[in-house]
């Protein structure tokens, strides 16, 4: 217990905390936050440096000193309801668990070997007088958020099927102008749920691979194969024959149907939705901002908008949870979404179309990129905040 840290330090934020850690000894610790309650999970012991903490954010730094994989749980008083958990801590490793805890009695548990009830002890959270309004998010709110998101994905997938059908029909029929018009619009349904679609490792390469992504000997199929045929390079390209067109179009449609079928049974956790939202912004930052996504058609801004739409839906769904956990972060995310949308609107043509990306200048691209950074940075903190 010689490394006991005054428990008061654990809830303080950066800055004020520096005053607390004077009591910290020079004992080496792992990187990351200090000021946490240290937990040592060995084969037969679950040793905590403190048995109580003031209400607010309570941090545990769990070190696995045993030889088996371990877990650490914080349960409610009944010993059943999980308040917070960390899993899969390998021998010798440390990991932080941060929970937002109201005053009351709790139960801690280490589960070396990940079996049994674990080594349990009582843990008290005293009233710090702060964070009086700590309320959990009830299960109903969580269920609403996750089922709404599942419904959204299903809706987008089914519209993707319809739109892909119309697009591939026009393409097969040689109505190239129509196909070119439909291409970015149909893709929008894909891009809104891109992180879900990409989670199917077998479908994504068949449907959304860019020419530059190809491996030696790999067959190129999907959206971008057709894109190149509709917006061919000026020289050195041989147009696909009607039969070839039919092959690629049918293949895309059939994979789209498989995707639609699969998402019918998918369920999501809040952290998957949160990470998916952030992931969509990563997609924007990686491929769309640079104009690499639609290198032949230059319809990147359609995909950009669709990624942002999908990210926003995910955020809106989680908003009731986030406002309980971190209202300021929620406001910050919301205004960054608004600011990015104002920028994107400048490139809108009519109701649903956008300027071609090769007409967007470097300074304009930088401005878009800055707005993506401004949104993605707070958005990246959403999952951590709602899982507190």
């Amino acid at each position: 217990m010689n490394r006991l840290i005054t428990a008061a330090c654990t809830v303080f934020l950066l800055g004020i905390a520096s005053a607390c850690s004077v009591t910290e000894s020079n004992e080496p610790t792992a990187e990351g936050g200090s000021g946490a309650i240290r937990v040592e999970s060995s084969a037969d012991e679950c040793a905590l440096t403190a048995a109580e903490a003031p209400s607010g954010n309570v941090a545990f730094k769990v070190k696995n000193t045993g030889s088996e994989v371990t877990e650490f749980y914080l349960y409610a008083e009944d010993g059943l309801r999980i308040v917070g958990e960390i899993e899969n801590v390998g021998p010798g490793l440390s990991r932080d668990l941060v929970v937002r805890a109201a005053p009351g009695t709790y139960v801690t548990s280490c589960r070396p070997g990940m079996t049994g009830k674990g080594i349990r002890s009582e843990f008290k959270v005293t009233d710090s007088g702060k964070d009086a309004k700590i309320t959990g998010v009830d299960q109903a709110t969580i269920d609403t958020a996750t089922s709404q998101y599942a419904a959204y994905v299903k809706d987008q997938a089914s519209q993707l099927v319809d739109q892909t059908m119309a697009f591939t029909a026009a393409y097969k029929d040689g109505q190239d102008d129509e196909a070119r018009k439909l291409f970015p619009l149909a893709r929008g349904y894909w891009e809104r749920i891109e992180t879900v679609a990409e989670s199917f490792g077998d479908l994504d390469p068949k449907m959304d691979l860019r020419e530059a992504d190809l491996e030696e000997g790999q067959e190129w199929t999907g959206w971008h194969r057709i894109e190149k045929d509709l917006w061919p390079p000026a020289s050195g390209y041989k147009q696909l024959s009607p039969a070839e067109r039919a092959t690629y179009a049918d293949d895309l449609l059939s994979n789209t149907n498989i995707l639609d079928e699969r998402v019918q049974t998918l369920e999501y956790t809040v952290d998957q939705i949160g990470n998916g939202s952030k992931g969509l912004l990563d997609e924007v930052a990686a491929g769309k901002i640079t104009g690499e996504e639609d290198i032949w058609s230059h319809t990147d801004l359609y995909d950009f908008q669709a990624n942002v739409d999908g990210a926003r839906v995910a955020y809106e769904g989680l908003k009731p949870l986030l406002e309980v956990k971190d209202a300021a972060l929620s406001t910050q995310i919301e205004s960054a979404f608004d600011a990015l949308q104002v920028l994107l609107d400048k490139y809108k043509v009519g109701e649903e179309d956008f300027v071609f990306y090769d007409k967007v200048t470097e300074p304009q691209r930088k401005e878009l990129s800055d707005a993506v950074n401004a949104l993605a940075e707070p958005l990246s903190k959403m999952t951590g905040a709602i899982t507190l």
């Binding site: 330090c9 654990t10 303080f12 934020l13 950066l14 800055g15 905390a17 520096s18 005053a19 607390c20 850690s21 004077v22 910290e24 000894s25 020079n26 080496p28 610790t29 792992a30 990187e31 990351g32 936050g33 200090s34 000021g35 946490a36 954010n57 941090a59 730094k61 960390i86 990991r95 932080d96 668990l97 941060v98 952290d271 949160g274 990470n275 910050q332 960054a336 930088k366 800055d370 707005a371 950074n373 401004a374 949104l375 993605a376 940075e377 707070p378 990246s380 903190k381 999952t383 951590g384 905040a385 899982t387 507190l388």
Partner: protein, 430 residues
């Protein structure tokens, strides 16, 4: 843990290295030579330490990174403010101050806040296990912070220093707008480039949504010495650079030529104890220079290459004698030699505190080195202490045949943060 307010860190402070549990042994190799007069990490507690353990105080009358003995590496960054909210800008300056306190003491950003496993880490991590490495962070405000396109975004117009204007066009300038100016700047200097880059990266990250990086420059091989204890280094022309530089020990001259005085500008009393930072990215035409005879090189510079002595004779620190003539009565130091044009006697006695770095940004499209000198000087009055001299050099210095200025910036450097609750630019925003 408290941030050091004096020359040495508080007892018991944890460096990033010690947090990781490594003994300080890895840091022993580099001697303290070359960096004099300043305290290092926990002396007395640990074995002799290397320059990677150097720590400079963040708090003080002046910002550090000006008279601090020039470190080996630079990461300079200029930012545009992307918000119009004064409150958001002040909030950022406060969070930059907080992060700068941590990082200059060798700690991580947000070290004391435990974060959920599902959150990105507060610190980006590449400096974990490294010491402060002499890191200093120096912040500046560009003219456009006070007024941009006729707009007073932050209610600061009335406080814009008279002398804080975009630098004029100098003859032969070929400025890249993408490497010039900016609303804010940060000069990060450290002995370890990883530490300097880590600092700028984390400050930029804290700034997303409030500021956006406009341009940045990495520098190596300090080209100036700002302390008598430091040897004079060489620029990429191969010559010692900054022999006549103002040194921190020349207190009276530093006071006269570096620090802004309270009554210098009635609109800008907030800048007292601060300075102006002149940044110039000066590309060198390396390949043609290397084909130039030693005779011509020395005639252009006005010093001997070997030891840096003026061509009038003596050793490096001998004052050049511009009167000494040789055969046919010609001066040993040519009338247009760089050393003569830049010398205080040609510039109304003005002395400069320079803190520049060599740079190489790979090669250009012609396969030539994209290299040169990233010139930094801190001056009390840019209109008297920099612009006349640069006008003369750009117009008359035959060395310009081998130089081209490609980036430029002038920034007002506010005074140092005095207290633990203070923040960068407090005097401007209060």
């Amino acid at each position: 843990m408290t941030a050091p307010s004096s020359d040495s860190p508080a007892k018991g402070s944890l460096s990033r290295r010690r947090l990781l549990g490594a003994a300080g042994a890895g840091a022993l190799a580099v001697g303290a030579a070359g960096v004099g007069g300043y305290a290092y990490g926990n002396e007395g507690e640990d074995p002799p330490q290397g320059i990677d353990q150097a720590t400079y105080p963040f708090h003080g009358r002046h910002q550090s990174g000006i008279t601090t003995p020039a470190q080996d590496r630079l990461h300079f960054a200029a930012f545009d403010v992307t918000t119009e909210s004064r409150e958001a800008l002040v909030l950022l300056l406060r969070s930059w101050t907080e992060a700068a306190r941590e990082m200059t003491a060798g700690r991580s950003v947000g070290q004391f806040t435990a974060l959920p496993y599902d959150a990105p880490p507060a610190d980006t991590g590449e400096a974990l296990g490294l010491n402060a490495s002499g890191l200093t962070l120096t912040f500046g405000f560009g003219p456009s912070l006070f007024e941009k396109d006729g707009k007073d975004r932050f209610g600061l117009r009335g406080k814009q220093p008279e002398l804080l204007r975009e630098l004029p066009h100098f003859p032969a300038d070929n400025l890249d707008a993408g490497r010039s100016n900016g609303d804010l700047c940060i000069q990060a200097c450290a002995h370890d480039p990883q530490v300097a880059v880590h600092a700028v990266r984390n400050l930029a990250r804290l700034g997303f949504g409030t500021v956006a990086m406009r341009w940045a420059q990495l520098g190596f091989g300090r080209t100036s010495s700002t302390s008598n204890a430091q040897a004079t280094m060489r620029n990429l022309l191969g010559f010692k650079d900054g022999t006549a530089n103002l040194k921190s020990e020349d207190r009276e001259e530093v006071d006269e030529f570096v620090w802004v005085h309270e009554d210098d500008d009635e609109n800008a009393a907030w800048l007292a104890e601060g300075s102006y930072l002149v940044a110039r990215r000066i590309n060198m035409r390396i390949e043609p220079w290397d084909r130039t005879s030693l005779r011509e090189q020395e005639q252009l510079v006005g010093r001997d290459r070997q030891q840096g002595a003026p061509l009038s004779g003596g050793t490096e620190f001998t004052e050049p004698d511009f009167e000494v003539t040789g055969r046919e009565g010609l001066p040993l130091i040519p009338v247009d030699a760089h050393v003569r044009l830049a010398h205080p006697t040609t510039n109304k006695g003005v002395k400069l505190l320079r803190r520049g770095y060599n740079f190489t940004d790979g090669t250009n499209t012609l396969g030539r080195l994209d290299a040169g000198l990233f010139f930094i000087a801190f001056v009390r009055n840019p209109e008297e202490h920099y612009i006349p001299m640069q006008t003369r050099l750009s117009g008359q210095d035959p060395l310009m045949e081998y130089l081209q200025h490609t980036g430029s910036g002038l920034f007002a450097v506010p005074p140092g943060v005095r207290s633990k609750s203070g923040f960068i630019g407090e005097t401007l925003f209060s």
